[in-house]
């Protein structure tokens, strides 16, 4: 089997072959490392790859399997982690110069859980600096390109992970989502991405951007893969006080059942404020068209679809851009050059305050500085009530809108993001245009609710994502509906959406 064929398999299929002994972990790992070697120069998905260590771990799993040891379903499967996750002994930068050279002394809980499950870490993926951005252009290190069109962005902030998984440089990956940073990159690269209920996946070892919003979650090629990866990282963690100590619903099982496509009795709400009537400004026609088709598809499978109004969602963007920068301004205060990362101007001629200031001046990029300044201002005495306080009230209103909506429907749907992947460089000088990419994903973030992006077709040859939102701890509903949509579209199409990737189509001799 060629490298390309191996790396085309979804994770579930690769796992089956590993378990059945048809493929070794070393072979699978080497196949991915080969493709990274050959193609990542153009894609730019990774910040750090350590092939030797990966192959050693893969060999250890193979040896354990050969010795007849009882292994979990993920054993030997390669995985990529967004560089926001702290990994013991492995460089971790959060996409920032200020952490250049830092090798953490500990593992994030989710990294540890994946390690314990026997997965093989391929490397750390690129991201917008400190997860601030929607295009990965804010990385301090490199540009990441969308495998569907190398001139376009892969989304962000988890753009390294989306590009890697879509581009065949990792079978699946972890991202983090603060305002849409899993869902939006998944949408624009044709992947499935899920932001779990806030508190259902540990944040311990996740370099904080906005503590009350950050959630880690899976990015994968299929709904089932995403559910399996989610199950592997989820569950209570005593090291995270905001971690929910409650049993999680069986997600992979819901994904499998959902793929049968029977949606009878499911009540689905289409959010008017997210691309509906009177709210289409900024939404691309192609995106709205795919959305409308998805609604028809869902109705056709027996679901009862109605429009739902959530008026407070219009306030989500301004509220988010007060809360997230406020928390970030405090979370990023620890980066002052004293204990880790770079230190600037420690030459005996600058005093303490100057060393800290110069370290931050040179260590942080412009978007990070912009948000620190914004957040510092919003928390200042005399402004707190008007900004941070008001934004928290909006958050409550948004949560109430969701609660009211979920009294009538089981899930809510919307486009994941108003446009397809935009050209690299097209929005870098316009922060507000960049922020608009998160318009649809912000409400669920602010309310701490689970939401999935699942591909629902192409527009102008580029992927469009459908967002499915559910009540807290009902992540299973997202996976069920996403699986139904995925199965119906795959079957209508006759192949997976990712098979239409131009690079892949080229590699396999062209799409029919």
């Amino acid at each position: 089997m060629s490298s390309t064929e191996l790396t085309d398999l979804d994770a579930a299929e690769l796992g089956r072959r590993l378990a059945g002994g048809e493929v070794s972990s070393v072979e699978a790992t080497r196949a991915y490392l080969d493709r990274i070697e050959a193609e990542d120069g153009a894609v730019g998905a990774y910040l750090h790859v350590d092939g030797e260590t990966a192959l050693q771990r893969a060999a250890a799993v193979d040896a354990a399997r050969a010795a007849g040891e009882e292994l979990g379903p993920l054993a030997g499967l390669p995985v990529a982690l967004k560089d926001v996750f702290v990994t013991e002994g492995v460089p971790t930068t959060s996409g920032s110069k200020i952490l250049e050279g830092w090798r953490p002394p500990y593992d994030a809980t989710v990294a540890r859980r994946l390690k314990d499950a026997g997965t093989v870490l391929l490397g750390k993926t690129n991201m917008d600096e400190f997860a601030m951005g929607s295009s990965t252009e804010n990385s301090a290190y490199r540009v990441t390109r969308n495998p569907w069109d190398l001139a376009r962005i892969p989304g962000g902030s988890s753009g390294g992970s989306s590009a890697a998984v879509a581009g065949g440089l990792a079978p699946w990956a972890l991202g983090t989502d603060t305002g849409g940073s899993i869902r939006q990159p998944a949408a624009v690269t044709g992947l499935v991405g899920h932001k779990p209920t806030y508190g259902s996946v540990s944040r311990y070892g996740l370099i904080a951007f906005s503590s009350s919003l950050d959630q880690a979650g899976p990015m994968a090629r299929t709904v089932l893969d995403a559910a399996v990866l989610h199950e592997a990282i989820g569950g209570h963690d005593p090291r995270d006080s905001t971690s929910i100590d409650a049993p999680s619903p069986p997600l992979a099982e819901c994904a499998r059942r959902g793929a049968t496509g029977d949606l009878k009795g499911l009540r689905v709400g289409v959010v008017r404020e997210l691309g509906g009537e009177g709210h289409t400004d900024g939404y691309e026609e192609g995106v709205l068209a795919r959305m409308a088709e998805a609604v028809q598809l869902i109705e056709g499978m027996g679901a009862e679809v109605r429009e739902v109004s959530c008026p407070s969602f219009d306030l989500a963007l301004p509220a988010y851009y007060l809360i997230a920068p406020s928390e970030a301004s405090s979370n990023l205060a620890r980066f002052e050059g004293m204990r880790f990362g770079i230190r600037v101007a420690d030459d005996g001629r600058h005093d303490l305050d100057e060393v800290m200031a110069l370290t931050r001046e040179q260590g942080f990029g412009p978007e990070v500085k912009r948000r620190i300044i914004l957040g510092t201002y919003a928390l200042s005495a005399g402004y707190y009530d008007a900004y941070y306080g008001q934004a928290q009230k909006v958050r409550t209103l948004i949560t109430r809108d969701f609660t009211a909506a979920f009294a009538d429907v089981d899930v809510l749907i919307s486009p994941t993001t108003p446009s397809v992947a935009f050209p690299i460089g097209s929005r870098v000088d316009d922060p507000l245009a960049m922020y608009a990419a998160d318009l649809c994903t912000l409400p669920a973030s602010l309310a701490g609710l689970p939401a999935t992006s699942v591909p629902c077709g192409l527009s102008e040859g580029l992927p469009v994502g459908l967002q499915i939102m559910a009540p807290a701890l009902a992540d299973d509903r997202c996976y069920s509906l996403a699986a139904a949509v995925e199965a119906a579209l795959d079957s209508a199409r006759g192949h997976r959406l990712l098979d239409e990737l131009p690079t892949r189509a080229g590699a396999t001799g062209g799409a029919a």
Binding site: F85, V86, T92, S94, L99, W102, P104, P105, Y106, A108, R203, Y204, G205, L206, I207, A208, S210, S211, S212, P238, R239, D240, S241, T242, S326, E327, S329, S330, L332, A333, R334, F335, E336, M338, R339, F340, L352, D353, M356, T376, L379, S380, A381, Y384, Y388
Partner: protein, 502 residues
């Protein structure tokens, strides 16, 4: 650092023109086994940076988990101070940059503290002063900076600085009083009495070892003066980290005298933090608070709110141990002390020492006599707190026992104490090693007695002639040759036997 010495007004004169208002912020390091937000040990004195982890070092990605025992201690302190215990309380981030706060913020409490609105009554010279407690809240301690080189030990002028994060994250309870007016000339003593009483309470609760010299109890003392009769209070200064009871009193006294001189000269007291200097008893300017630091407090999103269960709080209240005021009342009764006598004990910071000495077997009268007399004198001479003397209550009890059974006399007891304080061991050891025991009717004493008789035939004649009081000269001679080690009564009897005769 050279500064012109402050002009000072005589203390009594200050009170002819001004009224002081004081206020105290007291930090108590809790005696929990682990830190506030991680599992690191809190043991004092470990090698620098050996009791740290990703959480208390503030490494990227780490998260706090609140220490339940620390929350319980804080609530118990609040209950002992008669506070209202919050049913809903949150931690908040206090944001500022300094190398000893690893996260760039201190996790503290702001507008939702665990305990509010309590009070503590303290007694000074038979008068009771009610100190209102504004709040009791829980936070984490900072790391400790060591500035190497330079004369002052402060960062300015230092060659380089080191930070020890062992202390970072140790749970710290902050107890804040409301402004305390109306204490007049007693302001310095009220301040001291308040800290003393608070310390006793925290100790009785077992919440902390409250050792000021190790920094597990630290005081910031606010002082302001206003002209007598003024409707407004004056501008206050905040003297930071006053680390002994004596210093609390001295710092108030000094600030009153200094501020009076400033006001007398029509000057303006600056709102600032000041450093207290143990050696001179003076304060010097620190950070100006005129341009107030904006700490940008906001609720800590990494921690869930605390909602102490009412029944649990009630149980904590019911299970509080005997508090110092009640204990003093009981001991006054048991030991037969007057209120004034008890006040002396408390003011001398000797109540605990005397209680422990009595517990070790001494009579209350003996224990009080030693701690308030000889030992207090020695502490004063050495310029240290009574509790800092190198003698334990058990050793004092041993000393009184040796006196009671006649092994030593008063003079020998003082010499024994010299040895104990010099680190030569316990009283028995010192008596033995220095040979301080009272002489029995040993050969040596018989020889000394007979030598005295032989050496003073004229005195012997006088005694035999009926002038019995002349025997005193012979007793003195024997005591001199034995260098005070003989028992005077024994010597007298031996002389009588030999001179007056059988």
């Amino acid at each position: 650092m050279t500064t012109t010495p402050d002009r000072l007004v005589d203390f009594d004169e200050v009170l002819t023109r001004y009224e002081p208002v004081i206020g105290l912020e007291t930090h108590v390091e809790l005696g929990t086994a682990s830190k506030m937000f991680c599992g690191c040990s809190t043991t004092f004195g470990a090698d620098p940076n050996t009791q740290t982890c990703p959480v208390c070092l503030g490494l990227p990605g780490s998260l706090p988990v609140a220490n339940a025992a620390a929350v319980e201690h804080t609530i118990r302190i609040g209950l002992a101070l008669g506070c209202r215990i919050a049913t809903w309380s949150r931690f908040a981030r206090k944001n500022y940059f300094y190398p000893d706060i690893p996260k760039g913020f201190q996790t503290s409490q702001y507008d939702e503290p665990l305990c509010t609105a309590g009070h503590l009554d303290v007694e000074v010279d038979g008068e009771t002063y009610r100190v209102e407690i504004e709040r009791v809240h829980l936070e984490e301690d900072t790391g400790k900076n060591l500035h190497v080189g330079g004369a002052t030990g402060r960062i300015h002028g230092a060659d380089h600085s080191l930070v020890d994060f062992n202390r970072a994250g140790i749970p710290l309870v902050e107890i804040v009083t409301r402004p305390i007016p109306g204490t007049g000339a007693k302001a310095p003593e009220v301040a001291r009495a308040y800290v003393t009483e608070l310390r006793e309470i925290v100790q009785a609760l077992g919440a902390s070892d409250v050792r000021m010299e190790q920094g597990s109890l630290r005081c910031d003392v606010n002082t302001s003066l206003a002209p007598i009769g003024s409707l407004e209070w004056g501008t206050r200064t905040e003297t930071k980290n006053v680390n002994s009871l004596r210093s609390v009193e001295r710092s108030v006294r000094y600030e009153m005298r200094r501020q009076a001189a400033v006001l007398d000269a029509e000057g303006r007291v600056l709102q600032e933090t000041r450093h207290f200097h143990e050696d001179t008893g003076s304060t010097s300017p620190g950070r100006s608070k005129e341009e107030a630091t904006d700490y940008r407090y906001f609720p800590e999103p990494d921690l869930v709110p605390l909602a102490p269960d009412a029944a649990w709080v009630e149980k904590l209240g019911a299970d509080l141990p005997e508090l110092p005021a009640a204990r003093r009342a009981r001991l006054m009764e048991e030991w037969g002390l007057s209120a004034t006598e008890m006040a002396w004990l408390v003011n001398a910071d000797a109540l605990g020492l005397v209680t422990d000495t009595v517990a070790a077997g001494a009579s209350p009268a003996d224990a009080r006599k030693w701690w308030l007399g000889e030992l207090a004198r020695r502490a004063n001479d050495a310029g240290v707190e009574l509790t800092q003397l190198a003698v334990t209550p058990a050793q004092v009890a041993e000393l009184t026992a040796l006196l009671a059974d006649g092994t030593i006399n008063d003079q020998l007891a003082r010499q024994t104490l010299d040895g104990v304080l010099a680190g030569e061991g316990g009283p028995k050891q010192v008596v033995e090693a220095r040979g301080l025991a009272v002489m029995g009717e040993s050969d040596e004493l018989v020889a000394a007695v007979e030598a005295a008789i032989a050496g003073a035939p004229d005195v012997v004649e006088k005694v035999r002639g009926g002038k019995v009081q002349a025997l005193g000269a012979l007793v003195g001679a024997v005591m001199k040759t034995t260098r005070g080690k003989a028992d005077a009564a024994t010597v007298k009897r031996m002389l009588e036997e030999r001179v007056v005769g059988s």
